[in-house]
Amino acid sequence: MSRASYALFPALSLVKPSDVIAEAPPAAERRAKLLARGIRKVFRRGRNDVHVLEEVDLDIREGEFMVVVGPSGCGKTTLLNIIAGFEKPTTGEVRIDSGLVDGPDKRRIVVFQEHGVFPWLTVEANIGFGLADLSPDERKSRIAHYVKLVGLEGFEHAYPHEVSGGMKQRVEMARALAVRPDMLFLDEPFGALDFITRHVMRGELLRIWNAEKKTVLFITHDIEESVQLADRIVVMTSRPATIRCVIENDLPRPRDLSSRRYLEMRDKVLRELGLAKEV
């Protein structure tokens, strides 16, 4: 069985050697990549001020996989939009590599929840969207590389409506990676997918993350997702959102989803979100 195919189902393949995940320096020793300080966001809605974010401080380390988890509509997406430069914070600032974030940047690509792919472009043209400055040959080989990386061989000339939701998400991921960004921001990228596809896509994301060594900020309301993916989990409160706590998730990878430690970690996140363990 090839590496790629076994990585498709990380949770089902624990008997396989774990050498896919290369040894990284301990998380705490890595350099800070992103610093967000005192982020507040207030929207004016008619005569009322709606406080969406309240004093958020966040550090993301180089090469880290950080997951922000919180209730729906708590302001996670607003935080991501501020970090990505699409929105300005009411107060506070975001610094990446010590430079002030002042708008979106090609070095930091956002993967959106859905609908982010361009329906009028083929899979191949979507992936090449950000590569206009490359020579045709370079562009072609870059596209081919990422088509292969995300497993879309044979679908290069298909239009988005001809492929599944999971494949569209792969297209977005490949399009983002193709411009060689150093950070990836993912805004509930698997939110619209079914359970099985979501599960497969998480494994794929980890495989790609491992191959490409990007710093990742991943937004979700799915607790399992946070525990499966993150180096560190940021738990947010409901609106106005603040950071409740940051949990170091040191579970060894690949992660065994039925191990006691995994379940303990999940329970910890549940507890921090103030959710009952029984339904």
């Binding site: 990505a84 982010g116 329906p119 009028w120 409506h161």
Partner: protein, 259 residues
């Protein structure tokens, strides 16, 4: 578009409309025969009139004359209306400055412009083309403006994220993203242009299907020729609409299904 393969599809797309058409023609025939009218032609007489027009070499050239005027007026309306509408959709200031004028002029029927067109451009092709252009212009502007509003915010964000300059955003994102909506408006506008050409040709022009209607009535009250011209106008308008619908579906199928 799925081909109409099943029996049921074929019935609904071809057989049922054909049956309705046949029924109406039959009703027409019976009404003419029963009332004993000498003015209104029977379906057979209209068929003979079409044959006569073809034999005299009038129908085809007249059709092309009318189509030529429509294409000139409609083309000018697209050339002026699409960019204007896109700008109005893109730029809030442009929209608030221009929209009241557009909305004020829009409800004025192109027919009301007839005297103005003649005063400005005299008689002949020019005023007819102006009227057609006016008829098509306003729906095109409105469609282009609304089409911009239908562009997804997320696509614009992607474009900004990848650092596209404004001109490229317009060409590579706004244009293709708004195309399906735009085509709906263009289809509507073509229908209006075809409506207007007939009226415009009644205005001091001596060719075209609209001219044929007026001329046949004036010169000897040939109502068989009048109805033959009407039938031709209907058929060509129908064909144009099918062509536009086909074009719209070819793109919309790809675009909107991707949602």
């Amino acid at each position: 578009m799925k081909p109409a393969t099943s029996h049921r599809d074929r019935v609904t797309t071809f057989a049922a409309p054909a049956a309705v058409g046949a029924l109406l023609v039959a009703l027409w025939h019976v009404s003419v025969a029963y009332s004993g009218t000498r003015v209104f032609p029977s379906p057979a007489a209209v068929g003979a009139a079409v044959a006569e027009l073809l034999r005299k070499g009038l129908l085809i050239p007249y059709t092309f004359d009318s189509l030529g005027r429509v294409m000139a007026g409609y083309g000018a309306a697209i050339a002026a209306g699409v960019p204007l509408g896109l700008i109005m959709g893109w730029h809030v200031g442009a929209a608030s400055a221009l929209n009241p004028v557009i909305q004020l002029l829009r409800p004025i029927s192109p027919l009301a412009w007839m005297p103005v067109a003649v005063v400005l451009l005299g008689v002949g092709n020019a005023p007819a083309i102006l009227l057609i252009g006016l008829g098509a212009f306003f729906p095109i502007v409105v469609a282009a403006m609304n089409a911009v509003a239908s562009v997804r915010e997320v696509h614009l964000r992607v474009a900004r994220n990848f650092g596209l300059p404004p001109v490229k955003v317009l060409l590579h994102v706004m244009m293709p993203a708004s195309l399906p909506q735009l085509l709906v408006g263009l289809r509507l506008a073509l229908g209006i242009a075809w409506l207007v050409v007939v009226a415009a040709e009644m205005l001091a022009i001596d060719s075209g299907l609209g001219y044929l209607v007026v001329d046949s009535r004036n010169a000897g009250k040939r109502y068989d020729l009048v109805v033959a011209a009407m039938v031709s106008i209907g058929l060509i308008g129908f064909t144009l609409d099918i062509a536009m619908r086909f074009l719209a579906r070819a793109t919309a199928g790809r675009w909107s299904k991707a949602v």
